[in-house]
């Protein structure tokens, strides 16, 4: 209702009470910016945590669904026939979906990085490998495969990837907890900044608090004014930050096709929903901070 700087008679029929706190205040722009940036970072971290968790689970799932068998040929047979026999044996074991002997070239390619280009692999007794894909519903275990191979007189070692799987799961767990820690840290920082900035904003409007207090406003009435004002502002800033993070997440998803920008950090469309609570959380923190600050300011006045 305030017509800035204006004068003149008032049209009483059209008059409506103006808000006790200005709708817009230039002093708030810095607060809005900082809250938006922190909400953006918090949302981005949340997306990163979700994506890294998915990646870790994917690797674990892939490794636990496969086994590798190293076959050493006996004196009376070639490596190819030993590997073929092993693959044929394993394919018939319950709980095995597929068993496939890898060609010599593939086996050599796997060990080449360890021996260097100078080594002549043709002179070495390179063991042959059989890749085993397990039945997802009722997978066979390493002992079952080992017994089946021994029963056919094959000299072979079954590697169920236990060592690698444990490392990956440990690494994934660390990544998950570190990501969660960073997310919580940024969220706490965002909450602290919202609270601090809310206090500063409220202190800047001390004259409103004092006047309302001295004209008989109840403490809850004053606190509600500031609570609603700062909650609305933080919600707007939180929404801006969340939308920016979601836009970046969508860009990563689009840029990398079905697996996101990189298979190491696959982003799914549903992950973008994780930013939804951000405006609400920011508003909640600001509301609590404003209420507590207003209450403390009023206590000082009483």
């Amino acid at each position: 209702m305030s017509r800035r700087g204006g004068g003149g008679p008032l049209n009483l029929d059209r008059w409506r009470p103006a808000p006790f706190l200005p709708e817009r205040d230039t002093r708030d722009s810095a607060l809005v910016f900082v809250v938006a940036v922190l909400c953006f970072l918090a949302c981005l971290t949340a997306l990163g945590v979700i994506a890294s968790d998915r990646a870790a689970r994917g690797w674990s799932h892939q490794l636990s669904g496969e086994m590798t068998v190293i076959v050493r040929p006996k004196a009376n047979e070639t490596p190819d026939s030993a590997a073929g026999r092993a693959a044929e044996t394993l394919a018939g074991v319950a709980g095995v979906a597929e068993a496939r002997a890898l060609e010599r070239e593939k086996a050599e390619a796997l060990i080449a990085p360890w021996l260097g280009e100078a080594a002549d692999l043709a002179d070495l007794p390179v063991p042959r490998l059989v890749a085993v894909v397990l039945d997802r519903e009722a997978p066979a275990n390493a002992q079952t495969l080992q017994r089946a191979l021994q029963a056919r007189g094959l000299d072979a070692v079954v590697d169920d990837h236990t060592t690698w799987l444990a490392d990956i799961q440990r690494g994934a767990a660390i990544a998950r907890w570190v990501g969660l820690g960073v997310f919580l840290l940024i969220s706490a920082a965002a909450a602290a900044v919202v609270a601090f900035a809310t206090r500063a904003g409220l202190a800047a409007r001390r004259e409103v608090v004092e006047l309302l207090h001295l004209t008989g406003a109840e403490d809850a009435f004053i606190a509600r004014l500031f609570q609603a004002r700062f909650a609305r502002m933080a919600a707007g800033a939180g929404l801006t930050g969340a939308l920016a993070a979601a836009a970046l997440g969508a860009a990563l998803r689009l840029g990398g096709g079905g697996q996101g920008l990189t298979p190491v950090l696959p982003v799914a469309w549903s992950d973008l929903l994780a930013v939804l609570p951000c405006p609400l959380a920011a508003a909640l923190v600001a509301a609590v901070a404003a209420r507590l600050t207003a209450a403390s300011l009023i206590r000082e006045l009483s």
């Binding site: 004068g7 003149g8 008059w15 409506r16 004092e210 004209t215 008989g216």
Partner: protein
């Protein structure tokens, strides 16, 4: 609690709307600003608070409008000991007191009309019930054509008149004014005095802190004269106009 024999008013001090019993006040660890004040203001009385700068006039008003607490003694408002008054009740006491602050305390983002209506809104009144009254009051204090104006665009005298309008708009039981004629011309000063006298005639207890001896003399009303925080005289201005 025994009745203080030094209560200066002839009216029954126990029926007073304001009663000070040996009240002192200090800011933090500073020396006492007010010392051992004992007096009472009967309902419907009219007093000026006079005294040199620093005598404690503003502090005395602050105690009454509950912006400060006594460091010693008992202060009763409307028969209630303010020290014993629950926090949730104090806002309702404040609503019965209209204050014209020396520094006006207008809200710069609100129009003159909205500023004047603040006490009514705080008390929960509906706009339809007061908009006409607020407009008439602003017209009466000469702000008819400035109702839309924001305080930063008002002259000093206009701000003062707006502050007075805000203080009286709720028809308070007690009206406190701190130098209410400090920024207005003689003519407007007399109009403001007439407004205060009219409110007093309707039953409002009025207490005005002022340096304006002419205003005091014209009103013929009694004074509370303070010096160095002490009440040194209460009653009619002594002959010769001295304090």
């Amino acid at each position: 609690m025994s009745r203080n024999p030094n209560a200066a008013e002839t009216a029954d001090a126990w029926d007073a709307v304001v009663r000070f019993d040996d009240v002192s006040m200090r800011y933090g660890r500073e020396p006492e600003t007010l010392r051992d004040l004992t007096f009472s203001l009967p309902q419907g009385s009219f007093h000026f608070v006079t005294g040199p700068s620093g005598a404690g006039k503003t502090s005395l008003l602050k105690l009454i409008y509950l912006a400060a607490r006594p460091s010693k003694g008992l202060l009763h408002l409307f028969g209630q000991d303010v020290a014993q008054t629950p926090a949730e009740v104090r806002p309702f006491l404040r609503r019965r007191i209209g204050v014209v602050f020396q520094e006006f305390r207008l809200l710069d983002h609100l129009s003159a009309f909205d500023n004047a209506a603040v006490p009514l809104r705080v008390a929960g009144a509906k706009p339809d019930s007061y908009r006409q009254d607020v407009a008439e009051l602003l017209t009466w204090v000469g702000l008819k054509d400035r109702m839309h104006a924001l305080p930063p665009t008002l002259a000093g005298g206009e701000k003062q008149r707006l502050a007075i309008a805000r203080a009286v708009v709720g028809r308070p039981d007690i009206l406190l004014a701190d130098e209410p004629t400090g920024n207005v011309d003689h003519e407007m000063g007399l109009r403001i005095l007439r407004l205060f006298l009219e409110l007093n005639r309707l039953g409002t207890t009025v207490l005005i802190a002022t340096h304006d001896q002419d205003l005091v003399a014209r009103s013929g009303m009694p004074v509370l004269h303070l010096e160095e925080g002490r009440l040194v005289h209460m009653g009619q201005v002594p002959a010769g106009g001295g304090s």
